[in-house]
Symmetry: C2
C-alpha cells in the first residue's frame, strides 16, 4: 500500500472516452489498496481556446481575469474524472485549487506553489476517497484563482505529492519514459529505467520536453520520486508498480541502485537537442572592461534570456567579436534593442542566424570521468560538423551547430557514447 | 445616480463581438455615474455542452461534481466581460460565486439563494469598480460550488440586487419587454410599460418565458424593481433610464402610476399559452371519500406536478370520471404509475391526450371586476372552441383546449379583452 499522486495531461483528458481510460488506470491503483490523488490538465486544445478568448477581449489582459477564465478548463476535467470514477463504483471527489486550498504566491498567470497544508486532502484520501485535483491552478494571496503558466500541471502534481507526503508521483504522458535521446531521430534510443533529478533538469532545460523544468527542480528540492510513464498503454499492460516508465531519483538512490545491480554509472545518459535558439554575433566590440556588460545588461533587463556566450579575439588589437544565443522568439526584439545601442556599445556589425541548433550531452558520470568534451568534439569533427559555440555545466556539455546537421550530430554522439541499444533490444 | 444590477443571458454573451456589445451597454450605465453590478450567463450552448459531458461521464451524476463542471461556463464569460470592460477603460473585476461569497442553501444542482452579505461587493462598487458576477452559481454549505438549476441567472440577478440594495434590476433578454401576449401569434400584441409581480408570476408559471418564475417570486418577496429589456438594440437607442422595456412593480406602485396617469386598471393584462401539458382521464373511479387521494398522493410522492383537476359525474351512480393535467415530459411516468395502481384505485380505463394546450388570461383587475370568466367562455364558445378543463387563481383563469386551436383562442381572447393595439401603434 502506498500513497500515490498521478498526473494526466491534456491529450489523455480529451473527451469522454479518453477520460474513461484514465479512470480505469486510476481505479486499478485505488483497488490495489493505494491512497490516490489525481492531477489533471484541461482537454487538449481547451486552454488555447480560452487564451484566445482573453486575447480577443483585451490584448493587454489583466492576469487575474485571465486566470479566472483559463482555469475553467481543468475545473471541467476534474469534475468529469470524478464523475467517471464514481460511475465505476469508486469513491471520488474533485478539489478545486481554492478548496484545498493550494495557496500560491507571486504573480497571477505565473504563480508559484511550494508547500501548503494538505491535511484535509489526506484525511479524505485515507478514508478511501480518490482526490481529483485540477492542475495548473491555486488560490492567490488576494483570494482569487491563480494559474501557474503553461505546462504548470506537472509542477502542481509534484507540489501536491510533496504536500501529501506521497511515495511516488506518476506523470502519465504521451511518451512512455525518458529515452537516451529522441527515438524519432535515433531508432536505437533506449528507455532509461532511472535518471537523476540533476540529469532530468539538464535534459528538460535543453529541449527534452518530457517534463516541465520547474516541476523537476521542485521534485529535487522536495525529494519527490517522480515516474514518467505513458497513459496510452493497453489495459492488460503491467501496472505502474512494475515500473514500465522511467523513475527520476536522487543521486544517492541512483548510487544504491547501481551498487545493487553491480553496474557502472554511464558517463552520458542522454542527448538532447533544441532548435529554438538563434545566434547573434557583434563584430569588433571594443576590448575594454565593461564592454560586455553594455551588451548583456540591457538584454537581461528586457527579459531576454542569453544562453551561450563566446568572445573571439578580433582581427585588430583592442577589438573582439562577441557571439551568443537567444531564444528564436526573442531574436527580433534582441536585434532591435542592440541596434539602438550600437553607438553606446561601439560594435561594427550585427550578424544573426536562426538556422542553428543546440545539441547537449548530459550525464552524472561526467563528474568523475574526464575527456567527455574531448571525445564529443572529436566525434563531431570526424563527421565534419563544425562547432560554433560551447557551453558547459558540471554534468552537461552543449554545442551550437548548423541546424541542418542536428540529426546527424545526435546519431553520431549516441553511438560515440555507447548508448545504442544492442541488436536484440533494438 | 443609482445602484443598478444588470443581467445578460447566453445569447447576449455568445462570443467576443456580442460581449463587446454588452460591455458597451454596461459602460454607458457606469459612465452615467451609476454603481453597476453585472450578472452574466454562459455563452449560448455552452451549458448544454457541459451538461452533456456530465451525462456521458455518469448518467446518474453526483450533483456536486455536476455543479463544478457546469458553473465553469459563467466563470468564463464573467472573466471575459471584465477584460472587455477594462479594454474600454472601465474599472471592472469578476467575482465568482465563492468569492463574494453568494451563500446558497438546499441541494446541489438546484440550490437556492435568499440573502447574503454583499458588503465587500458594495465597497468595490462604491469605489467605481464594475462588479461582474457569474449567474446561476454560489457557494454551498459544504464549501463547494453550487448551481441553481437551468435559468437560474435571473434569480441570481434579483438576489444580488436585493443584497446590494439596488434601485433597479435590469434583465436584458432577447425580447424587449413583456407583451400582452406572444407577438409571433398576435401581431397587435402590445408591449406593457408596467406589470405587477403577481401578474408576472402567473404569466411566468403558465408559459410566458420572459423570466424564470423563481426570480419573480424572489423579486416580489424582496421588493426588487425588475425591468425587462432587450440587449439587441442599436447603440443609439435610448438608454435603460428612459424605460424602453417593461418594469415589474408592486401593486401599490402600480396603483400610484395609474392614479398619476389618470388611467383605469385593465381587467386582463396578459394572455399566455402552454403546450407542455398533457391530459389524463381515469374513468369510473369509485365516488367515495379518499378515492381521489389514492390518485394524487402517489403522483405527488413521485414528484409529478398535477395542475388542473376536474371531477365529472359518471354515467352510473357511485362512480365518477377524474380528469387532470401533468407536464408532457412526465406523462409516461404518470401513466405507468397509475396502471400499477389500477386495482387499488379501482378505475375502469385510463385515457391520455398530449394534444392539448393551456391558455390563460391574467390580470390584477380580476380582483375587482366580475364576469371575466363568463366573457372568456363566451368568446371561446362563439368560435366553437371546446373547454376541456378550467383552473383559476385570484388573478388568472386557465382553460385546457385542443392544441390545434391554441393560436385561434389566443387571438380571440386578445381581441375580446381589448388588448389589440390601435391602428397607429400596430
Amino acid at each position: 500500500m502506498a500513497r500515490i499522486v498521478m498526473k494526466f495531461g491534456g491529450t489523455s483528458m480529451a473527451g469522454t472516452e479518453r477520460i474513461r481510460r484514465v479512470a480505469n488506470i486510476v481505479r486499478k491503483q485505488a483497488e490495489g489498496g493505494n491512497e490516490v490523488a489525481v492531477v489533471v490538465s484541461a482537454m487538449a486544445g481547451e486552454t488555447d481556446r480560452l487564451v484566445n478568448f482573453c486575447r480577443e477581449a483585451n490584448p493587454l489582459y489583466d492576469p487575474a481575469e485571465y486566470d479566472a477564465v483559463v482555469s475553467s478548463g481543468e475545473q471541467v476535467t476534474s469534475g468529469l474524472l470524478a464523475l467517471t470514477l464514481q460511475a465505476m463504483g469508486c469513491k471520488a471527489r474533485s478539489w478545486l485549487g481554492w478548496q484545498v486550498p493550494i495557496k500560491t504566491f507571486s504573480v497571477h498567470a505565473n504563480a508559484r506553489i511550494d508547500d501548503f497544508d494538505a491535511s484535509r486532502l489526506v484525511e479524505h484520501m485515507q478514508a478511501g476517497e480518490i482526490a481529483v485535483i485540477p492542475g495548473f491552478q491555486g488560490l492567490s494571496e488576494d483570494g482569487r484563482i491563480s494559474t501557474m503558466g503553461r505546462g504548470g500541471s506537472d509542477t502542481s502534481a509534484v507540489a501536491i505529492a510533496a504536500a501529501v507526503g506521497a511515495d511516488r508521483c506518476d506523470i502519465y504522458t504521451d511518451v512512455d519514459g525518458v529515452y537516451t535521446t529522441d527515438p524519432r531521430i535515433v531508432a536505437r534510443a533506449q528507455k532509461q529505467k532511472y535518471v537523476t533529478y540533476e540529469e532530468m533538469l539538464e535534459l528538460a532545460s535543453v529541449g527534452a520536453k518530457v517534463l516541465q523544468t520547474r516541476s523537476v527542480s521542485l521534485a529535487m528540492k522536495r525529494n519527490v520520486r517522480v515516474q514518467v510513464l505513458s497513459s496510452f498503454v493497453d489495459d492488460d499492460a503491467p501496472s505502474a508498480d512494475t515500473l514500465p516508465g522511467t523513475m527520476i531519483v536522487s543521486e544517492e538512490e541512483m548510487d544504491d541502485i547501481l551498487k545493487e545491480q553491480k553496474m557502472e554509472r554511464q558517463t552520458v545518459t542522454g542527448i538532447a537537442l533544441d532548435k529554438n535558439e538563434a545566434r547573434v554575433v557583434l563584430t569588433r566590440v571594443p576590448d575594454k572592461p565593461g564592454a560586455v556588460a553594455e551588451i548583456f545588461l540591457p538584454l537581461g533587463e528586457a527579459g531576454i534570456n542569453v544562453d551561450m556566450i563566446i568572445q573571439n579575439v578580433g582581427r585588430d588589437k583592442g577589438e573582439t567579436d562577441v557571439t551568443f544565443t537567444v531564444p528564436q522568439a526573442e531574436l527580433a526584439r534582441a536585434q532591435a534593442l542592440l541596434e539602438n545601442l550600437k553607438e553606446k556599445i561601439g560594435y561594427n556589425r550585427i550578424i544573426t542566424d536562426a538556422n542553428v541548433a543546440k545539441v547537449s550531452v548530459v550525464g552524472m558520470g561526467m563528474k568523475s570521468h574526464t575527456g567527455v568534451a574531448a571525445s564529443m568534439f572529436k566525434a563531431l569533427a570526424d563527421r565534419g560538423i563544425n562547432v560554433q559555440a560551447i557551453s558547459t555545466s558540471e554534468i552537461k556539455i552543449s554545442v551550437l551547430i548548423d541546424a541542418d546537421e542536428t540529426e546527424l550530430a545526435v546519431r553520431v554522439l549516441h553511438t560515440a557514447y555507447g548508448l545504442d541499444a544492442k541488436d536484440e533490444a533494438a
